[in-house]
């Protein structure tokens, strides 16, 4: 359904050209959830924003690659076409913080209705019914009576449901969820994860879940893509990634998770810092922090296919 | 270090302010003509670049043939005097009130805040009118009105600064060590609010000049035969159809002086006290 090939997004900053997304390829099938995992600054949010072409005004630009949604190429579309036909309608996004994602001075009825109105899904008298219907789908309690209420009258979990309602109103094909649970309490995180799961079952939409939390990714996704310094270093089924991580970075990331029953106080942090994306090193970008670095790592590593659609970009796997 | 100090100085603004200062201090000697001298022969003489004008009366002459340039230069004196006294007294009273209220808090502070509220419920011009009615118009009335209007502005801001300072350790140590209140005020509080006071005073200059001009224009401020820019505009107003330069030239003098002091004040604020930017 969604096929991204060699996507490159650059930010033209005053201190130089920042290669935020540097050759990312990924695929999302209908009804599938792909977890896009990485540290902050790895380019995962920028990848999500590139799909909607919502890059920082003036500085951000997609420099190359292709984004195809149901066979339609998105990179060539005009800004107006993106707004009218893609954003909110075919691809929708859920932001990180439900506390700030809703406009404080408009009623939730207005806000949930806004995408429906703008994309011509429902108008006039039918709008109210459509809004209530969407809010029921995200299981907002007593939705019908609360259309006139304002965001501050809802709890954090309820607000995230409202944000989700705004996103799924026009039954988009693809939902980009950027850290949808990070700002929430653990119990509410579980509720929102369940909600996303049920939304997917009902609508068959594809989901890209952007997160730094491998736990959240594991509980929601069938496949995971691990990002590092603007590139995808490893993709594959959840099971394979967790059991037999192939890329040294993924291995380090997994080792850094505190596990139940592990020896106390043994939290392995990865030594060093990710490279600057303004002038990234040639070759493997993880090389400087990699425990199994070789001479060859000075050249860009090839993507090596392992079993069951599991692949990783590392010289170690070539040998 | 010295180069750093003068970076981005608005030289043009300083030049204008210096010119106003020189005109105000220079007295009669600088003026091309006696500003009060009548010369009915050159009544309504236009500025030099218009037919009928010449360099003798470079900016033209008014209905009585008085040289406008000379009168503008002479009028700067009133602006400077009013600005000086008004700022000295409103800043002084406001700073003391703000320091006392901020430092002691409690009922002193409550009383001050109520006073500020009361003061702000009477528009400055209305206050000027009632004062002019009671005391008669004149320079001292103008200064009094400005002081009554602006002390609250200083007091409110200084009070906030002092309240923030009071929480600092060294003030608390000084109090515990038994340093006298007067010493704390002079040695510790005053030096810390000095920059703020300078910035506020500079920012006030433009407003004082506008205010004096407005009052003099209404006839509540400077009286004939003294010369003030506002008064010149008031005189020229009835001849607006005969001589447009009569109402434009003094206005430009007001505008340039205000503009210069505002630009300089903004620069000083960014230099000395950037957190005052929201004023």
């Amino acid at each position: 359904m969604l096929i991204v090939r060699d996507l490159r997004t650059h930010l033209h900053l005053r201190r130089g050209l920042l290669r935020a997304v540097d050759g990312v390829s990924l695929e999302v099938a209908e009804g599938e959830t792909l977890g896009l995992v990485g540290e902050s600054g790895s380019g995962k949010t920028m990848t999500g924003l590139s799909l909607l072409r919502l890059l920082p005004k003036g500085s951000g630009r997609i420099e190359g690659g292709s984004i195809r949604l149901d066979g339609r190429e998105l990179t060539g579309l005009s800004e107006g076409e993106m707004a009218r036909e893609i954003r909110g309608q075919r691809i929708a996004m859920i932001m990180q913080d439900p506390m700030t994602s809703l406009n404080p001075v408009f009623s939730i009825g207005d806000q949930v209705g806004s995408p429906l109105r703008n994309h011509g899904i429902a108008r006039g008298t039918a709008l109210r019914g459509a809004v209530v219907d969407v809010l029921r789908r995200v299981r907002l309690p007593s939705a019908g009576e609360r259309l006139g209420d304002y965001p501050h009258q809802f709890s954090g979990g309820q607000r995230q449901r409202i944000v989700a309602a705004m996103a799924i109103g026009c039954t988009p094909r693809l939902l980009v969820a950027d850290e949808p649970t990070t700002a929430l309490d653990v119990t509410i995180q579980v509720q929102i994860i369940n909600l996303l799961r049920s939304i997917q079952e009902e609508s068959g939409a594809g989901i890209i879940l952007i997160t730094h939390d491998l736990g959240v990714a594991a509980s929601l996704c069938r496949r995971i893509a691990v990002m590092y310094a603007g590139q995808i270093v490893e993709t594959g089924p959840v099971r394979a990634i967790y059991r037999t991580p192939a890329h040294p970075y993924t291995q380090a990331l997994l080792a850094a998770i505190p596990r139940l029953g592990a020896k106390r106080g043994r939290l392995t942090a990865i030594a060093g810092q990710p490279p600057s994306l303004i002038d990234p090193p040639a070759g493997c970008r993880f090389a400087a922090r990699c425990p199994s670095r070789m001479d060859k790592c000075a050249e860009a590593p090839p993507v090596v296919a392992l079993r069951d659609g599991h692949n990783a970009a590392c010289w170690k796997l070539v040998a | 270090m010295r180069g750093e100090m003068f970076r981005g100085v608005p030289w043009l603004a300083l030049l204008v302010l210096a010119a106003v200062g020189v005109c105000a201090a220079g007295g009669e000697g600088l003026l091309p003509f006696d500003p009060g001298e009548l010369d009915l022969g050159s009544a309504f003489k236009p500025p030099w670049w218009i037919d009928g004008g010449d360099w003798g009366n470079a900016l033209g002459a008014d209905n009585l043939g008085r040289d406008i340039l000379s009168r503008i230069m002479a009028g700067s004196r009133v602006s400077v005097i009013v600005a000086f006294y008004a700022i000295l007294f409103s800043g002084g009273i406001g700073a003391v009130a703000g320091m006392v209220a901020g430092y002691f808090g409690g009922w002193v502070d409550a009383v001050l805040m109520r006073l500020i509220e009361i003061q702000q419920s009477v528009p400055a011009i209305a206050l000027a009118l009632i004062l002019a009615a009671a005391l008669g118009p004149g320079l001292s009335t103008v200064v009094l009105v400005i002081v009554l209007t602006y002390w609250a502005w200083y007091a409110r801001i200084i009070r906030g600064e002092i309240m923030a300072l009071k929480g600092r350790d060294y003030i608390a140590f000084a109090r515990v060590a038994g340093v006298g209140t007067a010493t704390i005020f002079v040695r510790h509080l005053l030096p810390n609010i000095f920059n703020t006071l300078v910035v506020l005073a500079t920012l006030q200059v433009g407003q004082v000049i506008l205010f004096e001009a407005s009052l003099s224009f209404l006839g509540l401020g400077i009286q004939q035969p003294d010369i003030s820019w506002g008064l010149m505009l008031s005189d020229a107003r009835q001849y607006i159809t005969n001589a447009w330069w009569g109402i434009t030239m003094p206005g430009i003098a007001i505008m340039l002086t205000c503009l210069a002091s505002n630009v300089f004040g903004d620069w000083l604020r960014d230099r000395l006290d950037p957190h005052l930017r929201q004023l």
Binding site: L54, A83, Y150 | V122, A124, I125, L131, I254, V263
Partner: protein, 306 residues
Amino acid sequence: MSRFFGRRLLQGLFSILGASIMIFVISRLSGDPIVMMLPNDAPLSLIEEMRRNLGLDRPLWVQYLIFVQHAVVGDFGNSYRWKMPALQLILERLPATIELAVCGLLFSVMVAVPVGVMSAVNRGGWVDRVGRVFAMLGQAMPAFWVGLLLILLFAVRLNWLPAFGYGSASQFVLPAIALGWYPVAAQTRIVRSAMLDVLDSDHIRLSRALGTPEGLIVWKYALRNAAVPLLTMLGVYFAAMLGGAFVVETIFAWPGVGRTVVEAVFARDFPVVQAGVLFTSILFVISNLLVDVSYGLVDPRIRDAR
């Protein structure tokens, strides 16, 4: 909400009370208030009667209470110039002043909002730069001079609009611009910085991500947020309009409170001055009060917080 309103009302009443003391004290500054309250040629019997009426032989605070007692029932004495109760005169002139102040405020907001919004949307663009130059100039031009220049240009030179008078719609234009000129710069700055904040917020980003047209995002969803700080300041600006009205009304021969009071000062018509100043102060306090209430309408968070 009602408790909040009650508290503000009490504060307002207190301010008005304070203002009345101030006005009372100032009016006693010059010595014998009788001299100011009566024309120069008033007969001695009238002076004596007035003195008794006002209780000038009693202590100052008693005199103040008498002043308040009279003021509360609307008795500020008679205007000797207009031969009618001072309060009645002021009330007759009040609508014209309020009309002018509202028009001035409307003008300033109508300029400041679009310029502020466009400056924020196109930060560093030509609207932003031109707006900044005008703001600097605007802050340096006194209202009466702006009025004179407007008369010179539009009435004398171009002959498009009447130079003075009150009645027709065209006579509103120049006074409203002269009055609204000064606050435009400050209002533009408020709108601009509020818009910059809002346009950078998560909810606007979400709106964009869901395909809301840019026009709706700016002028509907962002602007209502940015309007809150402007609205909180409107009372201050309306009050400034009332102050500016004294000057602008005088230039444009506008039959409002401002011009009446200015004329009364020169005619030594003290009852009118007192009534006019006190009334302006009351209006001043009321406008601040109304704004506190009205901006709850725009920001639901504030509405509920009360």
